[in-house]
Symmetry: none
Subunit: 324 residues, 5 copies
């Protein structure tokens, strides 16, 4: 496919939800994923042995100190100390905590075996311009193995002018992960000027494309944002510029594009409780496997964060399924 | 979470010192750091067996000949000969001397076993523009092992447009250091145009971010400058643009952001004695593990430098703690 | 020259001590050894910064559990727990403790930085016949570096039919040690049928030859047993079969054969206090650099072991010399 | 310390020669350099066994054909044939000849063992702009070993925008040379726009900085140009902009900045005999170890070149010293 | 060629000296050897720049401490300290000293550049039975390069049952030496039961075969013993069993078999002065390039050893030739 905006295909019969009551879409079954024994062992641990279980994922990310800086910790000063998040993950019974090598090396030893680890393998600061967005490696799959992690995380900037380096760097990570039986979680983010001209990084066109790219490149799990409808959608390539889907429909669409890559919904900035819990439920209805919520949870005092976490657990129980 | 600069969160209750009398904040305990035996052996040697001991660090750097040029030695012509600093380190009972491969290969053999060595692994000259600041490798972790060094040093330019290459280069250093049990000291320096637009490289925003980046990337020890308040703070991202912290509060803040990376305070340019000793005490109060003072010490005649060093030792004795 | 056993040369004037009062022979000066900076740093640490200092070495070995089996711990049941020896080494201010990888991995982290480590790199059990004596590797120089060791140990069985493999294996250890600046301590033990026919493994011929082999192969330090005179000496090659040296003269002879390899005297089985202290003094008189006493020390209750250790420290102080 | 160009420190008492009669400054003693046996063997050969001896170096470079092109050979057409320089080096009893791989492979075999070889490992042509000056590798340290060379040469362009790549490339050369015991001669040349703005590549600031950079990066020998005073000095950073040193004082200054890197004086373009011999004497007075004169010698007919070479030998005899 | 005893060839016209006055046979010219530049450089250094020069070689070996044990040093106790031989080599102006890695690492640094080094790369002790004679590696060609050696030495046991391992081991040494331009000296020794049955290791059959094996395997220089006529010659394969050559004729024969491998004559055990000097002269007449005399020289007090060495120099001057 050429990288210029493609002509609008005739849209035959979109597999989108219809009718008044929301349908529940199935998550991909573990047995369908063609996983090597190592990946299967580790994924099953995350899906069934730790966290809410029942085939769901509740991930606590704490890479914001690198990606945004300490600024994100002002809202809840306790959260500046990584022990806060580690303890929240343990007490809140999360499926895993996701973070960079430094926070793993210095703190994980106190929680090893209690909280599964997703080692984030690349990252960058918020300081240099995002115009050539690219996250260099900060760790390796071997680091993850050495530390006893159960998955690795990697950010791909779909559409960035630096995409070629990004794909190449990801190739090595994916191959190491394959060789060592380590599941790969892809943070799939649209970025760059060309994306901006096609409806923006939060538009359905961009998020949908990112979901598919993650699948195509070999992600086992993909972290996706909810597409946000806006007037910029009009600049999206056809037929995106005229789809007019609801938020739930749009998210359902990207879950479908992710295929057999399990979908994690990103929390984004902190929002109100009801809005957040509604998003959890909608995501699960749409076929997501779980959520990856950071600031929405740890930008709160711990008691409050735990209370909300319990509510999420309750919702997840409704979506629990036995291993297949 | 999104990776663009986030909006200013509401600031709840910053964990900063309050009240009239300065509080002493604890340094991270060695036993909490999750260190491999080799890192632990070497760090313990620096913290307890050499130098002032008691868990403190007094480091003499002499990389200015490369970073600034011989110009820094004019103030004390004796200091042009590296033996001056080596002898100052030995007589002044420093925890370690920090320098590049050439000064190690040619001079260290006369001081081996008497003064621990921190081999600085990357550096650059002051001549080319700093706009793409990046320090290429001048030595390797294997060089450090071969020379009998007890730690390695690495400069990260946080925010530089060349940050990609820097993170990637650091990854290799960090992994070699992990494999060989060698502690890593990160010189964490904000740099580049984007930093200049966010309050400048000496502002709290920049230094605070640099402290956290060092922690996230896996530094065992981080060298930090005191943040300097100025009118440029107004250009910092919120809430930094309205914090108005005292110098001590600001430094306390960055020590906290460094987490379990032990903090060394940079001396910067030579200042008066009282100001310098006051800085030492404030730093230790704020939870720093020690200081890395170069020009403030070796830009003086030796007798004077030793006199001041003795005063630093005396202060450090107040902060001495048994190994834990 | 031919490489078969040569005929006995006429002995002109053996450089052996004469007269009633024992002479003190000098130890090789550190500065004469042609050491790389790394070896120099680490050796100087052992000789001057830890242990009795003054250029002496007091080493506590605990490889008997592998070499002899737990049988050696019956005499002092506390000694079965490796912490016993570690604590003895720390409290008794030993220059280093010498042991295998397992005892290093599992226990050393609690003593890292307090007691220097000599990682023993090869060993065997007492069970299979000694007729083809050969100690395979149990660790590597990189292990030693990673653990923060200050030297490595290697057993050479001089004269064993498996000598070929032994020399070849040692070559790799020696080269890695050279590359990484790690001093090499050679346990030089005569072994095998051919040795048995030439006066036995404790005879002067055998020990003298072993000392020289260690020097020729590149040992920095060599552990030697006191030659034991016996009627078997008559079967030694000339002129050894007619030398009739005293124990002190014989040991002086082997120290000289070791040349610039520093000599450690082996303690062997436990003997009485006075005999042991006399051996310490005689060894130092003969030019030894120190002692490596295991069972003689840790087969006692700790209070008693520490008392004897203090007496050894007192003797060593008489032989203390400044670094040269 | 900060790594930006620092403000001018107050200059206390520069360690420069004073008074009417020129003082002789000592060269670094071979024994002080901490050399491995291989570097020591090869350097001693150059300093004492070949060439003028007595610890001096007389080097004939012939890399101008690559660096400048055949244009340099017009002045003396015989010099176009590399045999001319090889024979001059042999008949004139030079300490070594310095050249690139092609001139070594094709011609050196006829002079092997008679004239020591310094294999130049990087170079470039004069054709592309010097604004990003960088010399890529043309040979390796293994090439030098294979050819029987006694040293390798490497050009560093201090201050060039390509300094990053240069330092990194030099790192590999330095490590190979250390591993194989091969001395490293650094051609230390200031270059680039930023240098031009700070008094130019021939100014004292630039040459002094280059001398120190070579020392810091690990040069065993550094080739330096005489600093040239000019009105551009006023643009140098303080205090260089107001030093007003004589040519001899300025050169003495850079020799001191080179520390334990032995200094070779560059000849530069051809000058008159008396001026050249005066420069030789001044350099040796200032503590240089020798000279590296190319065009000044081989741009003459051989008889004349040999006559001048004999005069240089005569001067060097005055500076001869026994090995130390 | 089969390895069983070949049938007796008809002997046409052996190229042996005839008539009353001994003829001088030429040594192979350096230019005829097809040497790489590195080998040529190093060999020329040994043949012309150090030692007696004029294309001759005077080598002092000191590997007897390993091969025979300290027993060889009794005749001259001073010789037990390797400095004795090093100083003899320097004062006696030897072409090189030949020894193992330990004596190189610990002592060579004091003589580097003054006495060329031949690093002996394999060896064994005299203790295990010689029936499977094989010398394992004790060093590598890279060690030799690193130490600044000018050649390497290797013992081949021709005819030993372990010959297959020996040839294979030599292959690697020879290839490394070729790659790094390092001349190879082969100690060619017949050994083993099969040799014993064919006239013994000192018989002409065995030595002649060993000379040819060294040439065939790629030796640059071969160390050979004088064949010794005895009644065991009768057991040699025809026609060796009926040649009845004089000692000089026999040696001439083996020199011819060595072809373009330069021949060093072994000294063997110490003999009287006149006998030794006669052997030197005979060897040179027969086309040897030099001698390798150990015990004959260093089993004497130094003054005496130097006197004899001067006599050897005087003889060598008669055989001096310019480089060709």
């Amino acid at each position: 496919m050429s990288e210029t905006s493609p002509p609008a295909p005739a849209m035959r019969s979109p597999s989108l939800p219809t009718g008044p009551s929301p349908r529940r879409y199935p998550r991909p079954a573990l047995s369908s994923l063609g996983l090597s024994p190592g990946k299967r062992t580790r994924l099953k641990r995350l899906l069934y042995q730790y966290g809410p279980g029942g085939g769901t994922l509740l991930i606590l990310p704490i890479d914001q100190g690198l990606e945004h800086g300490p600024v994100d910790f002002f809202a809840n000063p306790d959260s500046l100390d990584p022990k806060y998040q580690y303890e929240l993950a343990r007490e809140g019974k999360f499926s895993a905590i996701a973070l960079h090598i430094g926070l793993a090396e210095k703190y994980f030893h106190e929680y090893a075996g209690d909280v599964p680890l997703i080692l984030k393998l690349n990252g960058k600061t918020a300081v240099p311009s995002d115009s050539q967005a690219f996250s260099p490696l900060t760790g390796t799959v071997e680091d993850a193995v050495r530390l006893g992690a159960d998955a690795v995380g990697y950010t791909v900037y779909v559409g960035s002018p630096a995409q070629d380096r990004d794909f190449r760097q990801f190739l090595d990570v994916r191959q190491d992960a394959e060789r060592l039986g380590m599941p790969v979680v892809v943070w799939a983010y649209p970025r760059g000027e060309a994306i901006a001209k096609r409806g923006g990084k939060e538009g359905l066109y961009a998020v949908d494309y990112a979901a598919r790219v993650a699948l195509e490149l070999g992600a086992d799990i993909v972290k996706l944002n909810y597409p946000v409808a806006s007037e910029k959608d009009a600049e999206s390539p056809a037929p995106y510029n005229s789809l007019h889907l609801s938020a739930d429909e749009a998210f359902r669409k990207v879950v479908e594009s992710a295929g057999r890559a399990l979908v994690l919904v990103s929390g984004g900035e902190k929002v109100g409780d009801q809005e957040m819990l509604k998003k959890v439920r909608s995501s699960m209805d749409a076929g997501a496997t779980g959520i990856i919520f950071g600031r929405n949870l740890w930008q709160r005092p711990k008691a409050e964060a735990l209370r909300v976490t319990r509510e999420i657990h309750a919702i997840f129980r409704e979506y629990a399924q036995p291993p297949a």
